[in-house]
Amino acid sequence: MKELLRKILTPKKLDLSLDLAVAIPRIVYGYLLTAEFGSPKFGLPWSDPDKNLGLFEVAFWFPNDVAEYGGIFAMMPAFLAWMAAFSEGVGGIAWILGFQTRIFSFLIFCTMLVVVFVHQIQYGYWNMLPGMGILWISAISMVAGSGRFGLDFITSKLLSK
């Protein structure tokens, strides 16, 4: 178990320029995810008080929107809405910190798959682009991990001692 945890945690060894290339978009989009996309629908300390959201509560309207996608989304809309909002709101912070980067990248990847191919596809390719951008960053972060600019780098060093 510890070995698996270490594998998930340990970033790929890349040179400095590649580490920067992985970290900069991850940190920028991490900020946007938590501040702009996550906080209006997920209760975080920086959510707008006008939204009347309790801590870690998903907005009342979001499960209804998720249920409208049909299929598995209609079967467990509250759980899937919560997970999507959590992956944006909390995953965004994790991306900024480089904390459990692969796990949160996986959650964000799943969320963005739905955003792009279930929600935005009806509005055309142009509207799919922002979600796709985050999708690619999450895919790269799943493979590379945090790089040296993240807590995972420090934690994996400590674990390997």
């Binding site: 009347n52 309790g54 509560e57 009342f60 759980f79």
Partner: protein, 117 residues
């Protein structure tokens, strides 16, 4: 890993969906100062209202006083609206009206077109 899973399960168990309740809002609009009234409507940020099309208001007193009632489930403490007469918005490039919900779940809001209450 176990810690993270436990943390996620705890978060899911402790928190969930924002509480919501039915809210009915009745708006009344005084348009007595506007000549030649053709259509009167209200637009807003929460369903069943939208910013794209009028929610029709019916005359209480023709060419003077119009009303509409709408309801829906909400978790918010207020909603934002603007009135539209003959297709023209009030308060152009200004903040929306903020209708604060009454705790009785039935809110009555009276206004005069383009005038702050």
């Amino acid at each position: 890993m176990r810690l993270l899973l436990a943390f996620l399960i705890c978060l899911t168990a402790l928190s969930c969906v924002q509480k919501s309740h039915d809210q009915t809002v009745t708006v009344t609009l005084d348009v007595s100062e506007i000549p030649d009234i053709k259509t009167v409507g209200v637009r807003g940020s929460d369903k069943p209202l939208s910013w794209r099309e009028d929610f029709e208001m019916k005359p209480l007193v023709k060419d003077s006083l119009y009303t509409a009632t709408f309801s829906g489930k909400t978790g918010l403490l207020f909603t934002e609206i603007k009135f539209v007469v003959n297709g023209e918005f009030e308060f152009k490039d200004q903040d929306n009206r903020r209708v604060v919900f009454d705790k009785s779940k039935k809110t009555i809001y009276q206004a005069k077109f383009n005038k702050i209450n």
